[in-house]
């Protein structure tokens, strides 16, 4: 699914060259739920950008679903981002002017597939449990709900991989757990998920943990006792799941 080989990335600012990635190699197979953890400056954001086809490596190879990402053109990368990758961002990045359904439909504008865009978006919203909110605007949704809309948007093109960059970073504990519970359910349904985080407690919800340090891989191991977000939600005092704070 994902194959990285000796990946490096250098940034040049004036005369100063920063080495963000100094030779990273790993593979992610179909159906895995991987957390990539690292402190700020460890290169995890750079890695995320390259994995997502938003940036190209300085050297090394990166193959996604058999496609050579290091040598793809800008237009090709756009197409790959559209069809193969589902992004979930820390800040959600929803369009304020559009309701939940329209936001979920956004990637379909750039897809050349046919079919009923609204129906597909509706299904994606149902998958994150937000069918009832499809005509609400982002301002009318809680943070957790906004992130769930963003997850639906990432799922609507049926991508081969879900890339999440600090998906719980802007959420309180309860809403964070809700998002993680959705990821775990998607994982059980066979989705491939790569999640970037700096928080070990969040990373513990994945099945495999890759630790990044100073642009190199410092550790790569299965999570021995993954935490169950749904179970934690049950233990968290307060209101019922799905009715997070506004």
């Amino acid at each position: 699914m994902i194959a990285l080989e000796s990946l490096t990335k250098h940034y040049t600012k004036g005369t100063v060259v920063t080495e963000a990635l100094k030779g990273v190699s790993f593979r992610v197979e179909r159906g895995e739920f991987v957390a990539i953890m690292g402190a700020s400056g460890s290169g995890k954001t750079t890695l995320m950008n390259i994995l997502g086809g938003l940036d190209t490596p300085t050297s090394g190879t990166y193959r996604l679903d058999g496609l050579d990402m290091a040598r793809a053109t800008d237009d090709e990368l756009s197409g790959i981002r559209n069809r193969k990758i589902g992004f979930v961002f820390q800040q959600f990045y929803l369009l304020d002017r559009a309701d939940a359904l329209k936001n979920v439909m956004l990637p379909l504008i750039y897809a050349d597939g046919s079919g009923d865009d609204a129906a597909r978006a509706g299904q994606a919203l149902a998958a994150v449990g937000l069918s009832a909110r499809s005509h609400h605007h982002p301002a009318e949704l809680s943070g957790g709900e906004q992130q769930r809309v963003a997850i639906a948007r990432a799922l609507v093109t049926d991508p081969v991989i879900l890339l999440a960059d600090e998906p719980t970073g802007n959420l309180d504990a309860r809403n964070g757990l809700e998002v993680l519970a959705i990821f775990q359910r998607l994982h059980r349904e066979g989705r491939t998920i790569v999640m970037i985080t700096h928080d070990p407690a969040v990373a513990d919800h994945a099945r495999r943990l890759i630790v990044l340090k100073d642009g190199r891989i410092a550790g790569d191991s299965p999570v021995t006792h993954p935490r169950d977000a749904q179970a934690e939600l049950g233990r968290t005092p307060g209101d019922a799941p799905g009715a997070g704070p506004r």
Partner: protein, 406 residues
């Protein structure tokens, strides 16, 4: 489908900032409105001038017994020339082909009296054909005829301005008026004719038979003007040439000497008016061009602002799979929507103003759909041209930097 979805979203975004959107298209709105108004008014005015010329008879060639001089940009006949006679007019109608009639005429400004009231007006002496040749229809009574002329009868036909000034509401037909020291019987009243191409009131006139005017009023053996009616518009230039040749021959003008008379051809006048109108249209077009240019700059400023403001949205769209081309198209469509909307709005305002102006001015506003279509097409083009640079800037944003911006 996808394109229309995006266009709808663009509209929503534009509608979210109504004031800014309105301000950005103000230039285009004003530009297009001004063009529509000016074209409508210009065409209305042109039509009016052509109507006036037509009212004087469109197959008409006028010969004045004085050489033309250019005075303050206008051609005028000056001095009194005594070489033109009624015999010349007769010769023209007999010897020139394609001439239907030649009407000799004299005129002088005289005072008209009736029951203690008086007015100064132009008294025109002409042959009976003059009513037809000069398009003078009667409102009441009868015109004078060839016999009246031959017998030097003291009969008169009054114009509407004279009728109003002297008779008020009374029926002028049958009344006796005094012109100078001579008593005339009013036999008819002309219908309202309005102003001519030079703005002269064509109703401030009293028509009397030519012979009567020459022998009883003015006591002159010469005439001032000959009105020549050509068979049709087609022959106007030919007739003008023949008339000039014949008159020069009759007046024994050797080659190289200037004409002692002036020939005014209605078709030439119409052509000149058309040319003036064309120059006016060109002026309007250039003003419109400048207005649209300014409008375009406004749209460019707003689009640049929009690109800055929506940098993150652009980054998001790129991350979700939009190619640079898609971003470019989106912003171009938005610019075109803006300017096209401005064009339509300006068109509406222009039409409204033209209709209002026409009502005030009392003429028909003729709205040219070609001009309207052209104005809107131009405004859309302006939007696309000035939206191109902002759109290019938007499409060249790096997705990561764009996403991270705030």
């Amino acid at each position: 489908m996808q394109f229309s979805q995006n266009a709808v979203l663009s509209c929503q975004i534009l509608a979210a900032h109504p004031l800014r959107t309105l301000l950005s298209i103000a230039g285009v709105v004003v530009g297009v409105a001004a063009v529509i108004l000016m074209v409508a008014v210009g065409q209305g005015a042109e039509q009016r001038i052509l109507d006036r010329i037509g009212r004087m008879g469109s197959n008409l060639i006028t010969i004045n017994a004085a050489p033309a001089r250019l005075m303050i940009g206008r051609s005028r006949t000056v001095a009194t020339v005594t070489t033109l006679t009624a015999r010349d007019a007769r010769a023209l109608s007999e010897d020139c082909p394609h001439v239907v009639a030649a009407v000799p005429a004299v005129s002088k400004s005289l005072v008209v009296h009736w029951e203690g009231r008086n007015t100064t007006t132009t008294v025109v002496g002409m042959t009976a054909d003059g009513f037809r040749v000069r398009s003078v229809p009667l409102a009441s009574g009868r015109p004078f005829d060839a016999d009246d002329d031959r017998l030097r009868k003291r009969v008169a036909v009054v114009g509407q301005t004279v009728r109003r000034n002297v008779f008020g509401t009374a029926n002028p037909v049958g009344q006796d008026i005094r012109i100078g020291r001579v008593i005339f019987e009013v036999v008819g009243a002309a219908r309202l004719r309005g102003t001519d191409a030079t703005g002269m009131d064509q109703d401030d006139v009293v028509f009397v038979p030519l012979e009567t005017a020459m022998r009883r009023l003015l006591n002159v053996p010469y005439i001032q003007t000959i009105y020549v009616e050509a068979e049709s518009r087609r022959w106007m230039d030919r007739v003008e040439r023949d008339v000039r040749g014949l008159l020069r021959e009759r007046q024994r003008l050797t080659a190289g000497r200037p004409d002692t008379f002036t020939i005014q051809n209605q078709q030439t006048l119409i052509r000149a008016e058309r040319e003036t109108a064309r120059a006016m249209t060109l002026l309007i077009a250039s003003v419109a061009g400048i207005a649209l240019l300014v409008g375009g700059v406004g749209i460019m400023a707003v689009m640049l602002m929009a690109v800055r403001e929506r940098t993150r949205e652009i980054g998001l769209r790129r991350a979700l799979g939009a190619r640079p081309r898609d971003i470019r198209v989106q912003f171009l469509v938005e610019a075109a929507l803006l300017s096209g909307g401005g064009g339509v709005l300006g068109f509406g305002i222009g039409i409204g103003a033209a209709v209002a102006a026409a009502r005030l001015g009392g003429w028909n506003a003729s709205v040219s759909w070609t001009a309207a279509g052209l104005a809107i097409a131009c405004s859309v083009t302006v939007g696309m041209v000035f939206g191109l640079y902002p759109a290019l800037r938007a499409s060249r944003l790096e997705p990561i930097q764009a996403l991270k911006s705030d």
